[in-house]
């Protein structure tokens, strides 16, 4: 599933970053890589952006829907 359909507040693993090269490069630079654990912290109203937190570096970014659609995730099991 993409980040758009992901449940909020649960750990997710990035399976793939799709989309154009510019978007992928920007996501990498902001520390979002394949296999990273992330968490969806909130959604803005009116089809606004998503708040996404990288669990390892504890950084938060706002991703527009167009960008969030390019991030493929799967539910991750909480590390023991």
């Amino acid at each position: 599933m993409t980040l758009l359909d992901a449940p909020a507040g649960e750990p997710l693993r990035i399976v793939d970053l799709c989309g154009g090269e510019a978007v992928r490069r920007r996501l990498l630079a902001l520390g979002f890589h394949r296999d990273d654990l992330i968490q969806l912290d909130g959604r803005a109203i009116l089809r606004g952006p998503l708040l996404v937190r990288n669990c390892a570096s504890d950084t938060t970014v706002a991703l527009g829907r167009g960008v969030a659609r390019q991030v493929v995730v799967e539910p991750a099991h909480e590390p023991a």
Binding site: G20, E21, A22, V23, R24, R25, R26, L27, L28, A29, L30, G31, H33, R34, G42, R43, A44, I45, L46, R47, G48, P49, L51, N54, A56, S57, D58, T59, T60, V61, A62, L63, G64, R65, G66, V67
Partner: protein
């Protein structure tokens, strides 16, 4: 070993890592800081003397990586490439340690002497992260100094370690990647011509070529050489084939894994108490409903506070100048001396009595808003609305900065990734009422018609920005790349930093704007004395009198509004020959509104126009000016019809 020339020390770090704060504590208050990704986009140079030794210190714009995505980041890379700094001070935000390390690894690759300032360790501790600085130092081979720049902690040690490295430091050893990546790097290194001019070192160039080929850095990477180009293409293809991902992703992943491993080996994360308080505040600030209530409240409070402080101050401060003016009139009669003295009193008094009472609180509040990190939150909340006008949430920060002054707001659009977004944002910024226009709105509309009218003015103004954005974006077919905006951690603004920032801006007002106000008033005095103002007024009469329904005398003041918007306000009083308090005896309330609307919109002020030209080119500067004139005429006419 001491060098004959002054060594250059360059500060590099990711945005919001406290880099400029640290820089300021060494340089004195010369670089401005703020808590929004991409606000310090110009680099700041400063010559300092530390421990009796001169140093050139340079604060580069915050950059997430050395693969630039926007013009601000490009400044950082080109500078590092062309200047060959004697020392790099890498400021790493300890609270986002593992990500910051990725830039650190890139910097180490440059092969220049380096020191790491592990900054904001207090924030990291609040988040439950403990980092063993000595272990980081051992593993990276680079001196690491824990600092809290905001309180000046660790700065002394940082200076000592920096001198140590400058005197006898060796450049750190670059990180090694997996064998297949190393093969490709070595292959490209060999293809580089031995006399490659800009190269800091062949390995760095090779790695950057793998990452950046075809990204518009061709000239200084030496990509233009056909042999190099062929080697790079081969290498990139090999990597992509072996790893099943584009070459730049392979390098990024290698670096990411090294950074993660290093962070794991040197940091302890205590789960459970990770920043619960800040998180709760953020949940409210970005709440789908409460967030907007707070946003509206913040803005209303912003202008209400400025008006509540400004208007009584204004009345108080203008009294002595009014008395002085009538005293001068009695003493000097009606000669040239009186006209000149009057111009001087109007210019000086206008600066102190009308501009500063509103300007000062606005600057202070704006600085607080910037430093707190709230602008990024506003960007998150307003993104959906910005999409309606063809932009996204990242343009919110330049817009809000525009309420202070349009000029730095236009500069800050360099933090936007696409040229389309930069141009669109830049030509809309002149519609944002800056502090000068806020002064006019508060001093005229709020003072004479009431604060509610002023609020209405702002609402209408924001609507104008939205409509203009909607209209212009119809002509920009290129799609916007979409929002990727970091939300930095919230910081309580420090009074010292706010005062310093405000002080700097007041100083620049006194130095540049105030003389202009005084000079403008004097010029008007001379024009009036020699009756030259009539010609200008006659020339503009069709517009001013017939078009806008304003008094004939105001024509000349509109012309001067192009220099600085407040000048029109001060000259208005002078041209009409009245004191501020009895303005209503010569103009009606409706005329005040029309005047304010026209002055606010009719053209970007001179400095804004110059900056627009510089940042977006001649064409767009004129488009913006034309748009402003059209909007000003239409709106003033509309106001005349309605009132």
């Amino acid at each position: 070993m001491s060098r004959p020339e002054v060594p250059t020390v360059v500060f590099v770090g990711q945005p919001n890592g406290g880099k400029s704060t640290l820089f300021n504590s060494l340089a004195g208050p010369k670089a401005e800081t703020s808590n929004f990704p991409g606000t310090s986009v110009k680099h700041t140079h400063s010559r300092v003397v530390l421990d009796g030794r001169p140093l050139d210190i340079v604060d580069l714009p915050g950059t997430y990586s050395l693969c630039p995505a926007d013009p601000a980041e490009r400044v950082a890379l080109t500078h590092l490439f062309s200047e060959r700094p004697d020392l790099i001070v890498n400021v790493v935000d300890a609270s986002t340690f593992s990500r910051g390390l990725e830039l650190t690894l890139e910097l180490i690759e440059l092969g220049r002497p380096m020191v790491i300032a592990l900054n904001m360790i207090d924030v990291a501790e609040r988040r439950g992260v403990e980092i063993d600085a000595a272990e980081v130092e051992r593993l990276l081979g680079v001196p690491v100094v824990p600092t809290i720049a905001a309180y000046g902690r660790g700065v002394r040690e940082l200076v000592d370690r920096s001198f140590e490295v400058l005197d006898r430091g060796r450049p750190p050893r670059p990180p090694r990647y997996a064998a297949d990546v190393e093969d490709v790097i070595a292959g490209i290194e060999q293809a580089l011509p031995p006399t490659f001019p800009a190269a800091p070192n062949p390995r760095f160039v090779a790695v950057k070529l793998i990452e950046m080929a075809g990204q518009g850095c061709a000239s200084y990477l030496g990509e233009v050489e056909p042999e190099v180009q062929a080697a790079v293409e081969r290498g990139r293809e090999t990597l992509a084939r072996r790893r099943g991902a584009p070459a730049y992703e392979v390098i990024a992943a290698e670096r990411h894994h090294q950074a993660m491993k290093l962070a794991e080996e040197t940091g302890k994360v205590r789960h459970g108490r990770r920043l619960t308080r800040d998180k709760r505040i953020d949940a409210v600030l970005m709440h789908p409903f409460l967030g907007y209530v707070i946003l509206a409240a913040v803005f209303l409070a912003f202008f209400f506070v400025i008006f509540r402080i400004g208007s009584p101050l204004e009345t108080l401060l203008l009294k002595p100048f009014a008395a002085l003016r009538s005293g001068l009139a009695a003493r000097l009669g009606n000669g040239l001396a009186f006209y000149l003295a009057e111009g001087l009193v109007q210019g000086v008094g206008g600066g102190i009595g009308i501009v500063l009472p509103y300007f000062l609180p606005l600057l202070l509040l704006m600085a607080a808003l910037e430093d707190s990190g709230y602008l990024a939150r506003a960007g998150f909340l307003l993104d959906a609305f910005m999409h309606r006008i063809g932009l996204h949430g990242k343009s919110v920060s330049p817009f809000i900065l525009g309420f202070g002054c349009n000029v730095p707001a236009i500069v800050s659009t360099r933090g936007l990734e696409s040229r389309r977004d930069r141009v669109l944002t830049s030509i809309l910024i002149p519609f944002i009422p800056c502090s000068a226009r806020t002064t006019i709105v508060l001093a005229l509309i709020a003072f004479y018609l009431g604060p509610l009218w002023a609020a209405g003015f702002y609402a209408a103004n924001i609507l104008v920005v939205a409509l203009a954005g909607w209209a212009v974006s119809r002509f920009m077919t290129e799609p916007s790349p979409g929002l990727i905006l970091e939300i930095p951690s919230l910081k309580a603004p420090r009074p010292g930093a706010l005062l310093r920032k405000t002080g700097l801006q007041v100083l620049s007002f006194i130095r540049f704007a105030w003389p202009l106000l005084i000079g403008g008033s004097l010029v008007l005095s001379l024009l009036v004395y020699f009756r030259a103002d009539r010609w200008i007024n006659d020339l503009l009469a069709p517009l001013v009198v017939r078009g806008l329904g304003l008094p004939h005398e105001l024509g000349v003041t509109l012309v001067f509004g192009f220099l600085r918007k407040e000048l029109s306000l001060i000259m208005m009083l002078q041209a009409l020959g009245v004191d501020y308090t009895n303005l209503l005896s010569v103009v009606s309330r409706e005329q005040i509104v029309v005047f304010t609307v026209f002055i606010s919109f009719f053209i970007p002020c001179l400095s804004t126009f110059v900056m627009l030209w510089k940042e977006t080119g001649k064409k767009w500067a004129f488009v913006s000016a034309g748009l402003s004139i059209a909007v000003a005429l239409a709106l003033s006419w509309l106001v005349r019809l309605v009132l």
